[in-house]
C-alpha cells in the first residue's frame, strides 16, 4: 500500500500515515474476494488440494467459495471448457455482480491446453476478459496461490472509477 508515514514534527499530534483513497479501498477489498470455483476437469482436484488443509487457501481470505454468481466477486475457471459449456460459462460471467475478476486456472482454460480439438474452446479469453492466467496442467497449488497474490496486487492498485469500481 502506498503509505508515507508523517513524522511527529510535521504533525504535532503524533505519528500518522497517509495514502490514496483508492489504495485504502483496494486494501480493504483484496482480502475478501469470494471465489466461485467453476470446476470442470482435472484442475478441480488440484483446487481441492489448494482448499484442503496442507495448502490452505483460507490464508488469503478466500475461504468462502460461493456456488452462485450472485455472491461471487471472482470467477475461477478450473479445467477444460468445451463448446457445450461455453454458453453456460458466458451466462455465469454476465450474471456476476461488478466488480468481478476472472482467474483462468490451468492450460485448458487459458488456451485450450493439449486439447486442440473440435470440442474444446481454445481459451476462455474468447468468451470474456480474463485477469490472471495460471499456467500448468494441472498447476501446482503454489502456482494458484501466486495467482491469488497477483490478483490481490491488481485489486489493490485499481483506481476507484476503474472497471465498474
Amino acid at each position: 500500500m502506498g503509505v508515507e508515514p508523517i513524522s511527529s514534527t510535521q504533525w504535532p499530534g503524533g505519528e500518522a500515515i497517509t495514502t490514496k483513497l483508492s489504495e485504502f479501498v483496494g486494501w480493504a477489498r483484496k482480502y475478501s474476494a469470494w471465489p466461485m470455483p467453476f470446476a470442470t476437469a482435472c484442475c478441480g482436484i488440484e483446487y481441492m488440494a489448494t482448499m484442503a488443509s496442507r495448502y490452505d487457501q483460507g490464508r488469503f481470505g478466500w475461504e468462502r467459495p460461493s456456488f452462485s454468481p450472485r455472491q461471487a466477486d471472482l470467477l475461477i475457471v478450473i479445467g477444460t471448457i468445451c463448446i457445450k459449456m461455453a454458453p453456460v460459462l458466458k451466462r455465469i460471467y454476465d450474471q456476476m455482480a461488478e466488480p468481478k475478476y476472472v482467474i483462468s486456472m490451468g492450460a485448458c482454460a487459458s488456451c485450450g491446453g493439449m486439447f486442440d480439438t473440435y470440442s474444446v474452446v481454445q481459451g476462455i479469453d474468447t468468451l470474456f476478459p480474463v485477469d490472471v492466467y495460471v499456467p500448468g496442467c494441472p498447476p501446482r497449488p503454489e502456482m494458484l496461490m501466486l495467482a491469488y497474490t497477483k490478483l490481490q496486487e491488481k485489486i489493490q492498485h485499481e483506481s476507484l472509477v476503474g472497471r465498474g469500481a
Binding site: 451466462r91 450474471q95 461488478e98 466488480p99 465498474g164
Partner: protein, 119 residues
C-alpha cells in the same frame, strides 16, 4: 419506569436502524450499476430455465414453516429467562415451566394429529 430510562433502548434502535439505512443507501449510491438483460435473468445453474417458480406447492411445506416459527419463538423467549436464571429464583423457574408445559401440550397435539410426519 421513568421516560429517561428508555433512552438506551431508543439509542440502540437508532443505531440499528441507522446502520441498516447507511449500508443500503451507500451500496445503492456507490455501487456500480451495470444492468443488462442477461444479468437480470434468473440464475438456474447456468442454463435456460423452464416454467416459472410461482407454481402451487403442497400444504406440507407451509405446515412445517408455521411449526418452526412457533417453536423458534418459544426458544427466543427462553433466552432472557436463561440469562438471569439465578436472579429470577423459584418464581422464574415455575413461570417458565408453565410456559413450556403449555407449548408441550401443543406439541403433543400436533404429534397425535400427525402433522409431524412428512409423507
Amino acid at each position: 419506569m421513568m421516560p429517561q430510562d428508555f433512552v438506551p433502548v431508543l439509542i440502540t434502535f437508532a443505531i440499528v436502524g441507522g446502520f441498516a439505512a447507511v449500508a443500503l443507501i451507500a451500496a445503492h449510491l456507490l455501487g456500480p450499476k451495470a444492468y443488462s438483460p442477461v444479468k437480470q435473468d434468473t440464475y438456474e445453474c447456468g442454463v435456460d430455465y423452464v416454467g416459472d417458480s410461482r407454481t402451487r406447492f403442497s400444504v406440507k411445506f407451509y405446515l412445517v414453516a408455521v411449526l418452526f416459527v412457533m417453536f423458534d419463538l418459544e426458544v427466543v423467549f427462553m433466552y432472557p429467562w436463561a440469562v438471569n436464571f439465578r436472579s429470577l429464583g423459584v418464581f422464574g423457574f415455575v413461570s417458565m415451566a408453565i410456559f413450556l408445559l403449555i407449548l408441550t401440550v401443543g406439541l403433543l397435539y400436533e404429534w397425535k394429529k400427525g402433522a409431524l410426519e412428512w409423507e
